[in-house]
Amino acid sequence: MAYISGAGFTRVTNHWDLSLEDLAVEAGIRALEDSGHEEIDAVVVANSFSGTANGQEDLSSIIVDQLGIRDAPSFKVSLEGASGAAAIITATALVNSGIARRVLVIGVEKMSDVTALEDLTLISSTSLDRRFEREIGATIHSQHALIMQTYMRRYNIGEEDFGHFPVLMHENACVVPHAQFRYKLKLENYMRSPYLAEPLKLFDVPAEGDGAAAVVVSERGEVKISGFSISSGKVMLSLREDLLRLDVVRSSVKRALDMAEMDLSSISFTKIHDSSSVLAYLQLESIGLAEEGKAPQLTAEGRFSRDGEMPVNPEGGLKARGYPVGASAVYQAAEAYLQLTGRVGESQIDGAKSCLLLSISGVGSGATSIVLTR
């Protein structure tokens, strides 16, 4: 069985003075310190865009070299927004199989060196099918927008209903020291934000912040990795049976909960991949935390608030804590580890014993689920 025995991260922001590898080394050192300087058998790096945004491949070798770890195997695991979860699951498999006893997982993303918006949009859209989505001008935002449009039509709701989720995320992030955006967002400011791709607005999506997070996955520790699963599905929107069905979420959540021999009622809090407001709602509905079409209303009513029935993204999610793409699922796990060991201060959920961590690649091409228990 595998456990998390240490965690560390940097703040998510534009780290003008830190490079890709500086960030990774910083988070790695913090996690190693937190775990009591355990000896490391392997390093798994999670990252999505080092080749395109930073022109740096063979990333794990660069990071391990700079961390001063000698003679440990290392490699990079990539699954776009879910890279971090895929890396943690890989590390868990190494520990569970006895190949390694302690694995350092470092998630890192550094997008702020790409300073032109057009280039950032292009890099962020590389999870789309290159030949038949991106080459016709589709973007990551156009895909979220088409799903949002479909959601609005089917459930007959307006644009303002999508503001409830970002408003909640900003509310949560206000007391989180490492969050990118520690200010409240008003619904009227959400409504005034410009369109990226109609009806998707600037405040529907996170900004790509720089950041690195690390966890130590060990044969011993305080928090158990009780269940995990990765599902891969259809990439192209035009080939999906229904734009509002995230089958990859359903199947990965079910398999992870089954492995942990748990059900949703025994989960203390959930983290989802709010790469847009509508994707957040679809995940809540696909997990089974809201009936279809009801997630906006339940969000507005407070069900997913930190003191609600099922707290979701107590640190502010991708929207407000920040979205260092390939690192974001390692942030989820590191924050959850601190929550479950009662160490997060103002955003602490009292008595939290277990959590479900969900991440997404692309616009629902794939999904990862991890269940952690104390």
Binding site: L122, F132, I136, G137, L200
Partner: protein
Amino acid sequence: MVLERTSIPLYWRDRGIKYRLLGGECKSCNRRFFPYRKVCPHCGSTDVNKVNLPRRGRVVSFTVVHNAPRGFEYYTPYVIALIELKDGTRLLSQLTDVEPDEVREGMEVEMVIRIHRTCGESWLIAYGYKFRPVLKK
């Protein structure tokens, strides 16, 4: 940046799909799909024939893109639409010959060949399908 470049072989390879809407017809589940590929995306069968899909259809859903990626700035704002062809096959395409505020769900559209974009320093001109409103006679 390197990423925005495309290449002649990359476009040439897909000429059937980009100029003739080459799709697949699955002999196992009898469903069609776009673009053509070896394995049916609906049922996983490899018993797939090539078929030129109908060039007419209707707009199912659409969005107006305001922040274009590198390579598409010239066309901004432009419409990306999910289109259902006459035989029920769906694809994603840019709309052309129409202002964004004139587009409606359910609008009848037809395929035309247009410039997708000119690429970087090489000025390679990439052509492919776009859809425009069906012209009234």
